[in-house]
Amino acid sequence: MHSISLALNGKPVHGQVEGRTLLVEFIRESRGLTGTHVGCDTSQCGACVVSVNGKAVKSCTVFAVACDGAEITTIEGLAKGVDLHPMQVAFKEHHGLQCGFCTPGMIMASIDIVKRHGKSVDEETIRRELSGNICRCTGYHNIVKAVQAGAANM
């Protein structure tokens, strides 16, 4: 077992993990933050995307032990109290979700896109940059709209 300390959604967290414990398992099972989802086992679907040290990564393909000392933000850490993050607002406003399962990963990935490409990120870039996130419900149409709108308000 390894001891790890990290900042999870701004709060210091300490835990004991095995080498093989994935970051998503630590977040969901040890910390009880179940907003981060697992939709596949081949690092393709993106339902598990979280931010590690400011970068969107697939938490199913990172060992928790390797995140010792990291700052991690999950979907639960986006809103400030009752004030939602502009990207969360945009997903609701533009009906960018249906079953909601891919949504946390989509929102985390979308915020990361805007961080790198700015407020006026174009449609083509959004579609290309969402290639690592799979949604089965929306056909992506309203997700793309939501990302554009969320970007403008970030």
Binding site: Q88, L130, R136, G139
Partner: protein
């Protein structure tokens, strides 16, 4: 009442807050105290005898609570999985249903079949112990290709020597043969409807928990219909009577049909929880979903369309071989029969239709309903044939369709369905206008300048949903009635809880159902909550599939609301000292005709519970009503899809250049949500047409497309751009429900595949191409046609 939150408004979804903040509660998010974990040992072989299973070594491994096999199933007399729809063959014989045990008994029949289950303290321990179970197999020859099943020497089930589950027919054979005899032209196509893997983003999961104190079970499960799960687990598996089994389907991450069915894993978790004395949790991983979720489609069809000298369709003849997989899943038998053959008349006035279907066992995962279920297969046959016929007859495909449209309603087709209402020409006109169909040639020329081949394809679909009239489906073999139930509980302060047997797993019921209630009772939409997915809360229900929650589920709510209003009127009349006949309810207020007396809905609710101002021996205390609704007919959404593609002739890569879809769903409750359903359905249809195809290796019987690495899912970049993706609506209100609505959940997936394939065949100038039209497939087709041309 037209309000910002009433019927017809694009109200933002009430359920979204929990999903966008990570507070949704899916089955895997639930953890019960002291739970153990199940891991299923699955068959590595497509077909084999199980000679022995030795669990001795595995049982001694760390953390193992129990290991169970078919021996334990037999000891406890746990029944097998059922197919809830019986189909009768043309010769009058019943369909040949082989046994479907929850853990394989003596034989495995597909790669992924359930051999044993290990319950252990942790997932990893369960998996490690499963790897230590020694199974001795005697492998048998297998068949994975539906087309070869009936002539194969392999026998999947003893009960079906030629692997044929049934040989079913519908329509008028003699009239159809006669039509073909007098036809001026016959168009023939061989069509494969590719096998699909549903891939809802949330993998299936279950937690079974036994309470020894009350001798009752609870099952948390990823289900589209928890009440049906309870019914089947009680009545057929015999685990517990219904009042001792609670089934909860919490937030469910998409279904598309695949979560209708009762699967082995869920039943095993319930059963094992009593043996283990602890809750037993199973969360499927994606690889298991690929192997063992029920797949969709997989039809091999020969189809012919007969036209007279005026280009009028006079007959349609279809023979289909439909794969059922290794076992008959819950609704499987209904899909290639009454959900398929009955739609083969399409939007067209076809006097003679005849279809025969051979359903066959194969050594693959079971096949059952997947978004559209039978109707996409029917639409694909009809719309590929019609488009091809138009091209052969050198008629404009749009006008060829128009002149064959049904125009008088009601219209009785030769294949059971009676279309109640529609205006197919209106949808076609609108779609042609929105897509700027008349200027296609200039866009084609523009594409050619960029070295691309542009093509256009149409699809005029009709489907039957809002399933279904109980007596009618009962006469056709259904094991259940397909009504829906609802309960309206008005609280003393005027807030409202709606208990519904429908289940939302992305459809937005918490919003749309509340819109109806808000409209009808004049209460704020935020004062309405929708309760679903729990058999202890909602008395009974049939669940959500077949685009039925609007037309059937909301209709039940509407009926219960009528009863609430009638009762409230009595209370209001008593309180206002008026005759109930003089009380008018409008915009949330009760008034007495010809007076200024007025009570708000909330006040009446309170008075209903106080009982101070009326005689409670005449008017019962309280304000709570329930209703069951059994639909009078199916509902018939219809519309037109027009797809334009660009094919790169160098690589065979296809891009959706423009997509237009016009639907007639009757009245819309929430246009935003309806459009979302259409976008998603079309994405799945584009997926089927361009990307998705489940492949089993013929030689090894292994699933080759077993992960997202090999099974291509639609991604954001595969869909048409925002500006090029246009949706429109026409409206002929449905006459059989008071909202005038039709179903919208499956239409996109039903209408789109033929539009895409018609566009590709148009672009590259070939007659036929198989789905998915991957770059390889398109390139091969171009090579073949090029070579043919060169040879000519």
């Amino acid at each position: 009442m037209a309000s910002a939150t009433g019927v017809g408004a694009s109200v933002r979804r009430k359920e979204d807050l929990r999903f966008i903040t990570g507070k949704g509660q899916y089955t895997d998010d639930i953890n019960l105290k002291d739970q153990a974990f199940a891991y299923f040992l699955r068959s590595p072989h497509p077909h084999a005898k199980i000679k022995s299973i030795n669990t001795a070594k595995a049982a001694k491994m760390a953390g193992v609570v129990g290991i169970y096999t078919s021996v334990d199933v037999a000891k406890d007399k746990i029944g097998g999985l059922i197919c809830g729809w019986g189909i009768t063959s043309k010769d009058g014989s019943a369909m040949k249903a082989g046994p479907h045990p929850i853990l394989a008994e003596g034989k495995v029949r597909y790669v992924g079949d359930h051999v044993a289950v290990v319950v252990a303290d942790t997932k990893e321990q369960a998996k490690a112990a499963a790897a230590a179970i020694q199974v001795s197999y005697e492998t048998l020859a297998h068949v994975v290709d539906a087309a070869k099943a009936m002539t194969s020497k392999v026998q999947v089930h003893d009960v079906a020597p030629d692997n044929r589950v049934f040989n079913w027919g519908l329509g008028n054979e003699a009239e159809t043969d006669a039509a073909f005899k007098r036809a001026a032209h016959v168009t023939k196509l061989d069509i494969i409807n590719n096998r699909l893997i549903p891939n809802a983003m949330e993998p299936r999961a279950a937690i079974g928990a036994y309470d020894a104190g009350t001798e009752s079970y609870t099952l948390y499960t990823t289900s589209q219909n928890p009440h049906v799960a309870r019914l089947v687990i009680s009545a057929f598996h015999g685990l517990a009577p219904e009042h001792k089994l609670r089934v909860i389907a919490p937030d469910v991450g998409g279904g598309f049909g695949s979560k209708i069915f009762i699967y082995a894993e869920e039943v095993v978790c319930v059963w094992a929880s009593k043996h283990a004395g602890r809750p037993v949790k199973w969360t499927g991983d994606r690889s298991e979903a690929f192997l063992a979720d029920a797949h969709g489609r997989d039809h091999v069809t020969k189809a012919e369309l007969a036209t007279d000298a005026n280009g009028k369709i006079i007959g349609l003849r279809v023979h289909t071989i439909a794969a059922m997989g290794a076992y008959l899943s819950t609704f499987s038998a209904a899909v290639p029969t009454y959900l398929y053959g009955t739609l083969l008349s399409g939007q067209y006035n076809i006097p003679a239709v005849y279809v025969t279907v051979d359903a066959v066992y194969t050594n693959t995962a079971p096949v059952d309903a997947y978004r559209g279920a039978g109707r996409p297969e029917a639409t694909y046959v009809v719309e590929r044939l019609v488009e091809t016929a138009a091209r052969e007859l050198r008629e404009d495909p749009a006008e060829f369709r128009r002149k064959n449209f049904v125009t008088q309603f009601p219209h009785q087709t030769p294949v059971i369905m009676c279309y109640d209402v529609g205006d197919y020409g209106a949808a076609l006109d609108k779609a042609l206008a929105m897509s700027d169909y008349k200027n296609f040639a200039s866009r084609k020329a523009e594409s050619a300048k960029n070295g691309k081949l542009r093509g256009v394809g149409l699809s005029a679909y009709i489907e039957a949903c809002g399933i279904a009239p109980s007596a009618a489906v009962g006469s056709l073999g259904a094991g259940v009635g397909l009504w829906e139930s609802a309960e309206v509980r008005v609280n003393p302060i005027g807030t409202v809880e709606i208990l519904t047997g429908s289940h939302s797993h992305g459809q937005g019921h918490e919003t749309t159902f509340a819109q109806l209630v808000s409209d009808r009772l004049g209460v704020d939409i935020n004062s309405v909550s929708i309760v679903h997915g729990d058999t202890d809360k909602v008395q009974m229900g049939m669940g959500t599939y077949g685009s039925r929650s609007g037309a059937v589920g909301m209709h039940a709510i509407s009926k219960a609301l009528d009863k609430v209003v009638a009762k409230a009127k009595k209370v209001a009349a008593a309180v206002m000292e008026a005759s109930a006949d003089d009380v008018v309810f409008q915009d949330g207020s009760f008034t007495v005709k010809g007076t200024d007396k007025k009570m708000a809905f909330g006040e009446v609710a309170l008075q209903s519970y106080l009982g101070h101002k009326f005689n409670s021996s005449e008017i019962e205390i309280g304000l709570k009503e329930s209703a069951f609704h059994d639909p009078a007919n199916f509902v018939f959404p219809a519309g037109v899809h027009i797809c334009e593609v660009e094919v790169d002739p160098d690589t065979g890569h296809t891009t959706i250049a423009a997509y237009t879809c016009v639907d007639d769903f009757g009245n819309l409750i929430n246009p935003m949500i309806v459009e979302g359903q259409v976008h998603g359905g079309i994405a799945q249809g584009i997926g089927q047409a361009l990307l998705e195809g489940c492949i089993y290796d013929e030689e090894s019987g292994q699933l080759l497309t077993g992960s997202f690495m090999d099974y291509a899912m639609p991604r954001a970049g595969y869909m048409p751009n925002l500006a090029d993706f246009k949706l429109g609506f026409t409206c002929t209100p449905c006459p059989t429900n008071p909202m005038g609505i039709k179903g919208c959940g499956e239409a996109g997936a039903i209408g789109s595949p033929p539009a895409v394939i018609n566009a590709i065949t148009n672009a590259i100038g070939v007659r036929e191409i198989s789905m998915p039209a991957t770059p390889l497939t398109v390139w091969n087709a171009m090579q073949a046609s090029g070579m043919k041309k060169a040879a000519e």
